[in-house]
């Protein structure tokens, strides 16, 4: 039975009340530069929690700290009720990790990759062999047992990495940008599999900078910027709480000058990026704004509801982060 996040009116058995992962006051500096500055969050059993942020926001460092691979300068982490980093190894017995970059073993076949990885958990070869058919079936790789790694597509490798992360039947899955670099078909397949895992009661912590991924999968998410959580909540809740509900995008060579001259009197907030002006408005302000814009034949418009990307860009800014 999967529980969809903490709900106060649900009667929760005591062992489920213990968070799967809790992080508080996490800090980490490299060479005097603080990359994580007081991050804290909690994952309830069965929840999918997302860490969103631009490059360099501190997502991967936070994950490394949670696994005990990096010792934080300050903060308290409990992973599956074990203190981290002190007992990180014991905690990792029940965690599966999908890293940002594939690190499958190129010297081994598909099945050997799972077999060898099982040994790192102390799982007997016989037991891993028993699990392999189900894992490959889950990953859509049935019949590929003996295939060499070089013959797999990017999507297949990603799915094999996911299968490898499940070899120890973990309670918690950590996914670092699980669909970066995949084509839409492959991404949808991964999403479908992750939803299936949530239905089985697994807990998921994922980092991403794809807003549609976060909106689809995450029950709750945190937006990280410069090492801090700048907003936290459910995707709908964040959109409702952080931003005007409607967006009118205005395109054209003179969009910027229009936004400077007439825009402010018509929209609560306008952001200009190149030849596009993003007008953030309330429901009642849509019609007058569109009527005004209709008089400007050189400007094209697109009216849509606000989404998570708007929240993200509002909170983290539009300038490049690399």
């Amino acid at each position: 039975m999967a529980s969809l996040g903490p709900s106060p009116d649900r009667i929760v058995p005591p062992q489920e009340a213990i968070p799967v992962l809790s992080v508080s006051g996490l800090r980490k500096s490299y060479a005097g530069h603080e990359v994580v500055s007081g991050v804290g969050f909690t994952l309830a059993r069965g929840e999918c929690y997302g860490l969103l942020g631009p490059n360099g926001a501190g997502k991967t460092t936070t994950l490394r700290c949670c696994l005990g691979l990096t010792t934080p300068d300050a903060g308290v982490i409990r992973l599956l009720n074990e203190p981290v980093p002190a007992r990180a190894r014991e905690a990792r017995m029940r965690v599966g990790v999908v890293p940002q970059f594939d690190n499958l073993d190129p010297d081994f076949s598909v099945a050997e990759n799972l077999q060898v990885f099982g040994r790192y958990f102390g799982i007997s070869d016989a037991e891993t062999r028993r699990r392999i058919p189900d894992l490959l079936e889950f990953a859509g790789l049935t019949g590929k047992e003996t295939a060499r790694l070089a013959t797999l597509s990017g999507g297949m490798k990603r799915r094999l990495t996911l299968a490898r992360a499940l070899v120890n039947d973990p309670d918690l899955l950590l996914l670092d940008e699980p669909t970066t670099g995949l084509d839409p078909q492959a991404r949808h397949l991964i999403w479908e599999r992750l939803k299936r895992l949530l239905q089985q009661g697994k807990t998921i912590l994922l980092t991403t900078h794809f807003m549609d991924e976060a909106e689809r999968l995450c029950h709750r998410l945190a937006i990280l910027d410069a090492g801090r959580i700048v907003a936290e909540g459910g995707p709908r809740e964040l959109i409702a709480g952080q931003i005007e509900p409607q967006v009118i995008e205005v395109y054209g060579e003179d969009a910027a000058s229009w936004a400077g001259a007439e825009g402010p009197s018509l929209a609560r907030r306008i952001e200009v990026s190149g030849e596009t002006a993003f007008c953030y408005v309330d429901v009642g302000e849509v019609a007058p704004l569109l009527a005004q814009l209709a008089r400007r034949p050189t400007l094209r418009t697109l009216h849509r509801p606000a989404n998570l990307e708007d929240v993200f860009l509002k909170l983290t800014g539009r300038e490049l982060r690399d």
Partner: protein
């Protein structure tokens, strides 16, 4: 002291790392062993018969017999070094194999211990293959030579650990050239592989005598010739000390590099 220099910890998980490398090796065991044999055999036969025909006895035996025991040591050194340098660096830096392993309940100490034991094991396989060939050629005097097997393993541990230090510091594969040119190649020429260390000028002799390959040769050569090595305890202690100290330093440097 900095926490990176905490004493190494060992757990059974290191065996899983060793087995991973063994499985890769097993897939290409025959070409790997033949490849490891070809180079030293060419030296042994070329120099042993060619140069040897010009020489009287060296160290009380024919030159090729003298050279055979040196070749066992040099090959063991090379095999351990190649494994710890090139293969180790591939797994650490290029393929990110270690990164994958560290996400499982395996610590960096276990990964490095597994790599270290594997480098020594592969070096032992290489040393054994050469001992087998020279044994078949009749260059081994007595069953006392069996004692050379654990010595060869210890030599593998020493050079495996030294190699892991260099790997922990390496920005790329090119870096290893320095280690070969400045350390390994001089050792092959100075430590008694091709001629007795006593032929060197006294100053060079006393330096060369302290190098790890010299201790290896001082132990392995007499054993293959059917004698107990002189000062065996000293040479064993020196190799053991080098192996443990180098491993400790390699681990500290690897922790500094990877546990950021």
């Amino acid at each position: 002291m900095h926490p990176h220099f905490a004493l190494p910890s060992f757990s059974w998980r290191a065996i899983a790392v060793w087995r991973r490398n063994f499985l890769v090796w097993r897939k290409m065991a025959i070409p790997s062993v033949l490849g490891n044999l070809a180079d030293p055999m060419i030296y042994l036969f070329g120099l042993g018969y060619g140069l040897g025909s010009l020489l009287p006895e060296v160290g009380g035996v024919t030159y090729i017999v003298f050279l055979a025991s040196g070749t066992v040591c040099a090959s063991t050194m090379n095999a351990a070094s190649f494994e710890a340098l090139y293969s180790g660096f591939s797994r650490m830096h290029v393929q990110k194999t270690w990164e994958a392993i560290l996400n499982a309940p395996v610590n960096l100490d276990d990964v490095l211990a597994g790599e270290w034991l594997w480098a020594a094991s592969k070096a032992t396989l290489s040393g054994l293959a050469i001992m087998l060939v020279i044994g078949l050629l009749g260059f081994i005097a007595s069953p006392l030579a069996l004692w050379a097997i654990p010595v060869v393993f210890l030599v593998g541990l020493s050079f495996g650990a030294l190699g892991l230090i260099v790997t922990a510091l390496a920005p790329s594969y090119d870096f290893f050239m320095y280690y070969f040119t400045l350390f390994l190649t001089p050792m092959v020429l100075l430590c008694g592989v091709f001629f007795p260390v006593e032929q060197l000028p006294p100053l060079l002799q006393s330096v060369a005598g302290q190098l790890p390959l010299a201790h290896a040769v001082r132990l392995v050569r007499p054993l293959l010739l059917g004698e107990w090595p002189a000062d065996a305890g000293q040479h064993l202690a020196a190799l053991l000390l080098i192996a443990l100290a180098a491993y400790w330093l390699a681990l500290a440097l690897t922790r500094r590099r990877l546990l950021k």
